[in-house]
């Protein structure tokens, strides 16, 4: 019969020590993904190291000019944080759309990143924000990886054995930026995204585009990672954000997107929807920017 040891350390050092002791030990955060995998017999770790009681890992705050999301901060905590609502409203909104209340209450920022599900609402937003994942190893050794480098493929990350995601750092956005996350589901309201588009629009003093970012989530890519649409600077910087420019950005996203087929949509349809929802996300981000919804 399958049995495992469960450890509930209270410090990061102890958690690392436990991970080091057991070959094949897995970190347990909210458990919304890992427990399912265990039940389906897809993984059979000999030990689980729970982070639930590790102190100081669930912080949502501001430090050194960055916004910091603790590794065990729950999706719900972040989605309801007034700081996040003020700084990155689209992050709060995207996380408010994840699954259902039970999942949002249990699932964590670090766990979601480590699961690296291709249908994540979190990843495209963090990608658009240029966030950095902070990883800690035994002995307190830390390394920092941009989200884009942390997510390496379908359910695959750059996480090394013994490493724990301690936090995510998000650089501040300029005061004049507008943001939006458009989630399109082909199922009920609780469904995972068919496509999810995160957009950030920053303008200069002359109302010209200074920085336009679009990240695409859903069933994306041969590499199955969210896509940060490339080369948008060349297309947008210094330009007015006209309908034509928005079309051009959407066309660029469409061209770069390489979605896969699953039960939620065919790759053909997803690619078409990338174009539609890139337009919608950009339009919404710009409208919000104009309304000054983001301080």
């Amino acid at each position: 019969m399958y049995k495992f040891d469960l450890y509930v350390p209270t410090t990061l050092e102890e958690a690392h020590a436990r991970l080091a002791e057991h070959d094949g030990a897995r970190v347990l955060a909210g458990g919304t993904a890992l427990i399912l995998l265990i039940k389906e017999k897809l993984v059979r770790p000999a030990a689980l190291v729970s982070l639930a009681r590790v102190r100081g890992l669930a912080e949502v705050g501001e430090r050194n000019g960055h916004i910091v999301l603790g590794g065990t901060a729950s999706i719900r905590d972040v989605s309801r944080s007034s700081l996040i609502a003020a700084r990155f409203p689209f992050l709060a909104e995207a996380l408010g759309m994840v699954g259902n209340l039970r999942v949002r209450s249990m699932a964590t920022i670090g766990g979601s990143l480590c699961e690296a599900d291709y249908q994540s609402d979190l990843s495209p937003v963090l990608l658009a924000l240029g966030a950095t994942v902070v990883l800690a190893k035994v002995g307190g050794v830390r390394r920092r990886l941009p989200v884009a480098d942390f997510l390496t493929g379908l359910y695959e990350t750059a996480l090394e054995p013994g490493e724990i995601v301690v936090e995510v750092e998000i650089p501040r956005l300029p005061a004049a930026a507008g943001t939006a996350y458009c989630k399109f589901v082909t199922g009920p309201i609780t469904d995972r995204p068919c496509v999810g588009i995160a957009a950030v629009v920053t303008k200069d003093a002359k109302d010209r585009c200074a920085d336009v970012r679009v990240a695409v989530g859903g069933g994306l890519g041969m590499t199955s990672r969210p896509l940060l649409v490339e080369n948008l600077d060349r297309v947008t910087v210094g330009q007015s954000l006209t309908e034509r420019l928005i079309d051009a950005v959407a066309e660029e996203a469409y061209r770069q997107a390489d979605p896969m087929s699953d039960l939620r949509a065919s790759s053909w349809y997803r690619k078409e929807m990338v174009r539609v929802f890139t337009k919608r996300a950009l339009t919404e981000a710009e409208q919000r920017r104009e309304r000054g919804e983001r301080a």
Partner: protein, 771 residues
């Protein structure tokens, strides 16, 4: 004082919301073992060998049930309500991925599961067939070598033609009326279309569960999440060669049924395991296993209709293939019901309907809320709009022109009664402002309204009996075989009793189905309990009342005709101050402070159809409903939103408005799931989405914000207080009403459920490319 017609709070509500109710999954017996099932990984294969010796040696394992046991014992190892085609565990063959191969009973579920991995099975693959059209082909590989009709079956299923039409045809239902060829010759326009509905899941919150104990004296006891304990008992008696009186089947509260818990499911297996292990055994299915246990029939409907230019329907030919999976379950009856329902709620003088129940190498299909009608309604109500469009008629107008009215003969020849189809259609369409188009929320969106209606039968003939016991304190126990599956039957039966006996509902207790105790009832399905058991309980209550009046008449020295029951007392008409409380009447009657008064009631319905013409009587009463809705389609994505939906159902008489509305709203939710999301997706015989992440169902938040129920009261002359059932009728029209609205909005006609944004988008793109 009357409890009928009031929104009495459901009497099991408090216990349910406080989590103190016992479902089968919570029941335990001393020494109970836990069961797990080994399932086939092959869609169709000969079972060469099953070796359980390693599994039997695993510590904690008490019994492993294999085909060897079935062969060794003096039992008949096959079960099934119409044809006995399903073995307790595989004997010669497995017939679908998920089929039962062997089962383990162990001291805990984990050990039982571990033991499954130690059972060695050798398979030899056989050609498999998954597509119902291919399975219907005369050249298709045969899935069952022989047909074993059940000895004790239902009167109505004898109206079917068995094993005609191909190697995998279980039954063929035929209906012939008028002159079809002449009808098509007279038609000005002929429409011919094919519509498809995939298999879907019931998804009751409580998975199937059963607990069995086999006693030394041969008695068999089973607690099961079943909707029809009486049928389970009959089947166990046939399998295990036991008297009905020696088999006890108890149905505690059931956590949702929707048809998925009708007829034997786990019971023969747990009894066999308990027999082998000499201990009580409980089996609770996982959600994934429920997907492999029972589904709604996937159906292909070919429908050809002839119409006159003025919109009158004159001829229709329908051919339906009901994909019943590897075992027939109740598929023969489901396909029969879908068969005669395929004409819809319309007068059509010349018709030929043929529906076939066909085996494929997929999980079995059986009863599902709507029972064959949603599948054919999807076809005939869409074609109705296609006809209206070509004839340039309003969809409401063409329906009203053809709809059945009181006194019309149905396709079966029987005279229809209490079928307010036109009223329902008018009311729901008025409720959505049918004639007034509303403005889309953006220039890239389109709005339109859609309508659909249906008529459906109930299980006929059928039998329900009730007994009733008034205790010496004047409180009442109602004993029925009706199962409380969440539909509110406890409350409804208490209301009926309270009404007759002039008591508050709080003084009535409804005893749950226990074949040791409660009289025979055929089934808690087919929305029949209000009508059939309602009548039986009403008779039983009347019998109690009569006795009380006789007793009181003697005590008061007054004629019983001058007495009446009011507020828990027998009172002389006109002088209520002389009334005697029921407890007092009983005390005086027996001359001591104890005693009880018993009442009995039986309600039987009759019917019969001719197997070659489908003529006769199909139903004790008819359900009618109509749905109208407004949708908004996003032309950039194909996505659609149901802005409003109004469901109208004939209740006959509304016994409890709040419960009735709940039933209709629940039906609409079922309808929306089937319309927009639900589909069991297969790759060959492999189900790809047996979980609630990939098999998607609507949540409460996916209901239209504007959802309304209209309960029409066209009383049925035989219904208790005029009432008929209300649990199913609103399901069927939901999908075609939405499809019709979408077609009117953007000109896209989706004929294969579910209606996805991608299907609409693809069609819109095609239109744009052609333009």
């Amino acid at each position: 004082m009357t409890a009928v017609g009031e929104s009495v709070r459901r009497i099991d509500g408090l216990a349910k919301v406080t989590g103190t109710i016992e479902y089968t999954i919570n029941l335990e017996l001393p020494g109970m073992l836990h069961a797990k099932v080994l399932r086939s990984t092959h869609p169709h294969a000969r079972v060469v060998s099953v070796d359980a010796s390693k599994a039997e040696r695993l510590r904690g394992v008490r019994a492993v049930l294999t085909r060897d046991d079935l062969k060794r014992w003096d039992i008949d190892p096959y079960y099934g309500p119409v044809v006995r085609d399903q073995p307790i565990v595989a004997i010669d063959r497995v017939r679908y991925i998920g089929d039962t191969v062997a089962a383990v009973a162990a001291v805990d579920a984990e050990i039982a599961e571990e033991a499954l991995e130690l059972i060695e099975v050798e398979y030899e693959d056989l050609p498999a067939v998954f597509d119902v059209k291919q399975a219907f082909n005369p050249e298709a590989p045969r899935i069952h070598e022989q047909m074993r009709p059940a000895e004790v079956s239902f009167a109505d299923t004898h109206a079917l033609n068995f094993a005609e039409g191909g190697p995998n045809v279980v039954t063929h239902f035929m209906l012939r009326r008028g002159n079809l060829e002449q009808g098509f010759r007279d038609a000005d326009e002929i429409f011919e279309d094919e519509f498809v509905v995939p298999a879907i899941q019931h998804l009751a919150m409580e998975p199937h569960a059963a607990l069995a104990a086999v006693h030394g004296d041969g008695r068999i006891e089973v607690w099961s999440s079943t909707q029809n304990p009486s049928v389970v008992r009959e089947q166990l008696a046939e399998v295990f060669h036991a008297d009905l009186s020696k088999i006890r089947v108890v149905a505690p509260f059931v956590g949702g049924g929707y048809g998925g818990k009708t007829y034997p499911k786990l019971e023969p297996l747990v009894v066999a395991l308990a027999m082998k292990a000499n201990h009580p055994v409980r089996l609770i299915l996982t959600r994934e296993e429920v997907f492999y246990t029972i589904t709604r029939h996937a159906v292909v409907t070919r429908i050809k209709t002839g119409v006159k230019r003025d919109g009158r329907l004159v001829a229709r030919k329908c051919e339906m293939l009901f994909d019943t999976g590897a075992y027939a379950d109740i598929g023969p009856r489901t396909s029969k019901n879908g068969g005669y329902a395929s004409g819809g709620p319309y007068r059509i003088p010349n018709v030929e309907f043929d529906s076939y129940c066909v085996y494929t190498n997929k999980p079995p299909a059986g009863a599902f809320r709507g029972f064959g009608v949603p599948q054919v309604c999807w076809a005939y109500e869409q074609q109705m709009d296609m006809i209206a469009e070509r004839l340039k008629m309003d969809p409401v107008e063409i329906r009203l022109k053809n709809m059945y009215e009181e006194g019309d003969p149905f396709f079966t020849g029987e005279i229809l009664h209490a079928i307010p189809l036109k009223t329902l259609t008018r009311k729901v369409t008025e409720a959505v402002d049918w004639k007034t188009p509303s403005r889309p929320s953006s220039p890239t969106k389109r709005r339109a309204k859609g309508v659909a209606a249906m008529i459906k039968s109930t299980m006929t003939p059928s039998l329900s009996a009730a007994s009733m016991k008034m205790e010496e304190d004047g409180s009442v126990s109602v004993l029925t075989g009706t199962v409380e599956i969440g539909q509110g039957s406890d409350t409804m039966l208490a209301q009926v009793t309270a009404d007759i006996l002039a008591l508050p509902v709080s003084r009535i207790r409804v005893v749950h189905s226990d074949t040791n105790v409660t009289p025979y009832d055929q089934s808690t399905s087919s929305s029949r309990s209000t009508f059939s058991m309602g009548n039986a309980v009403r008779s039983a209550a009347v019998e109690v009342r009569e006795q009380l009046m006789q007793m009181a008449a003697a005590q008061l020295e007054i004629s019983p005709n001058d007495l009446e029951c009011r507020e828990g007392k027998v009172v002389p008409k006109g002088s209520p101050e002389r009334g005697l409380g029921y407890a007092e009447v009983i005390r005086r009657h027996f001359g001591m402070g104890v005693g009880s008064v018993m009442g009995r009631g039986t309600f039987k319905t009759t019917g019969h159809l001719d197997p070659r013409t489908g003529q006769g009587k199909a139903s004790a009463f008819w359900f009618t409903s109509a749905v109208a809705c407004e949708v908004e389609v996003d032309t950039e994505t194909g996505d659609f939103e149901i802005l409003s939906l109004v469901a109208g159902v004939n209740a006959g008489k509304t016994l409890n408005p709040r419960l009735s509305e709940g039933q209709v709203e629940g039906s609409v939710l079922f309808g929306i799931g089937a319309t927009a999301y639900e589909e069991m997706v297969y790759d060959g015989g492999q189900l790809l989405n047996p979980n609630l992440l990939d098999y998607r169902v609507p949540t409460i938040a996916d209901l239209p914000r504007d959802l309304r129920t209209i309960l029409v009261e066209d009383p049925h002359r035989e219904g208790p207080m005029g009432a008929i059932g209300i649990g199913e009728p609103a399901v069927a029209p939901v999908a075609p009403a939405i499809a019709n609205a979408i077609a009117r909005a953007v000109g896209v006609r989706v004929k294969v459920l579910p209606i996805t944004a991608e299907k609409i988008f693809r069609a819109l793109k095609g239109q744009a490319d052609q333009a």
